[in-house]
Symmetry: C2
Subunit: 249 residues, 2 copies
DNA sequence: CGAGCCCTTGAAACTCGTCAATGATCGTGG
DNA sequence: CCACGATCATTGACGAGTTTCAAGGGCTCG
């Protein structure tokens, strides 16, 4: 199993053997973090850059009254705080959702990365895709009713996890409670529960434990208006059985 | 009045005279666009990069049923489609809100920009701030009731427009209808109208025509939990009278 | 077996959306 | 100069989606 980070960058562009071996050696430390613990906190000015190498994590923001909004999921190969390199300070927090392993890369290593044109462009691509996902989430939150919102998220996660090599066919593990899903989609936990039941009733998707199985991707995607263009995975070769690449035009 | 683009980059870092004059010469063409017209459409693979040099515009996404979500506002100095340079294709559209002037910069010029370290870092900063704003908008949409959502947006626009030199004290022009505001915050136009009245009733802010005047920034910010940290304007020197830089800690 | 966590359910209240109509303002043309 | 249409803001009534409160059920683990 190759480094998930390298795997991710190669979704954008092929890397030279030299670049790959360089990327394989940049990790300073690597440690394990239990589920449901903070990895980085809002306001931190981290010295090293953190990279998720196993497990699930999320970005989130809190309100005074304690309500939480999850603003992104992190899967293996995703940077936690690359932006602190430029922005100096975290404007949100990051917590593990499952047990994670987190690797640290020093600032100087990151600087070296940016001097390699191919890698620098790949890092830029990563940032821009994150931004595109945020825009789609905003559309999701603002314009779709609860059940479609959930369906959309499930479609997105299938494609992302496939790209990360973590989805097996049309199934994947999503170690997330209904409360966390509710915090992601701006719903109350109770309504989340009822909307999940409504989704289940369509028969397009099943959930047992934390295992998602998408029975009919095409219909699920259609039911919520999911299109994959915003993930910018165009160059992705691997397209398993049900061919979930739906495009709008 | 200096180039608004240069002005913006200098919020992040001072530029050398050489960098500044370089930036002053990169514009290929510049043209005027009437209000409410598309500047760039989803799916476009624009050859040149577009820059707003006057007026207001917005990024938006449409759903099949015609509902629209505005996912960002563009003010003078903002890039429209820098990401097409990497992502190849627009995943959203851009429309003018008022009459705008739009400048075009060729791809090759952009490539030159990225070879100048100071400018390259400033461009990176721009991208990361856009992303941070999106995360805050997501929090806004997911966790705040209608009136607070609006208040938050008004606070943000004051700080952004001040940074762009377009706010006079605590007032600014916002050439946006209630329908557009509703599409921005995921509300119906009717509810938007009633929520605006509720906001007006607090006395913290007034709107006549398209002119916003913030009467008591501190109270308005407090009422909606606005904190400016996510805008990453720390190095901003100019702080007019009422000192609206609110920080959480 | 009990504690804790998560999922599920019911009922009532509230925010917000939809439909439909009325005003207000402004630019245009007769 | 005024009537007209167009665009935008406003209002009322009603209904739907969603939240809140409160309680019960299932599962896992010590």
């Amino acid at each position: 199993m190759p480094n998930p980070f390298i795997r991710k960058l190669e979704k954008f562009t092929p890397l030279s053997a030299e670049d790959r071996s360089f990327l394989d050696e940049i990790v300073e430390v690597s440690h394990t973090i239990e589920a449901d613990s903070d990895i980085i906190h809002e306001g931190d000015a981290t010295e090293n850059v953190h990279l998720i190498t196993a497990g699930f994590a999320c970005r989130y923001k809190l309100l005074e009254d304690g309500s939480r909004q999850i603003v992104g999921y992190l899967v293996p190969g995703d940077f936690c705080d690359l932006h602190v390199f430029i922005l100096r300070q975290m404007d949100h927090s990051i917590a593990s959702l499952s047990r994670c392993t987190v690797s640290e890369i020093s600032r100087s290593r990151i600087l070296e990365l940016t001097t390699r044109p191919t890698i620098a462009r790949a890092l830029w691509w990563v940032t821009l895709v994150d931004e595109a996902v945020l825009r789609e989430w905003l559309l999701n939150m603002g314009q779709r009713p609860a059940d479609q919102r959930i369906a959309h998220l499930l479609c997105e996660m299938l494609l992302r996890l496939r790209a990360a090599g973590l989805a097996d066919g049309d199934s994947y593990a999503l170690p997330i409670t209904q409360v966390e899903l509710a915090d992601t989609l701006g719903l109350s936990p109770v309504h989340m529960n009822r909307s999940l039941q409504k989704l289940r009733a369509t028969g397009f998707v099943t959930f047992k434990n934390n295992e998602i199985e998408i029975i009919d991707f095409r219909k699920l995607a259609e039911s919520c208006g999911f299109t994959s263009n915003y993930l910018h995975l165009d160059k992705l070769q691997t397209r398993p059985a049900s061919d979930p690449e739906v495009s709008r035009h």
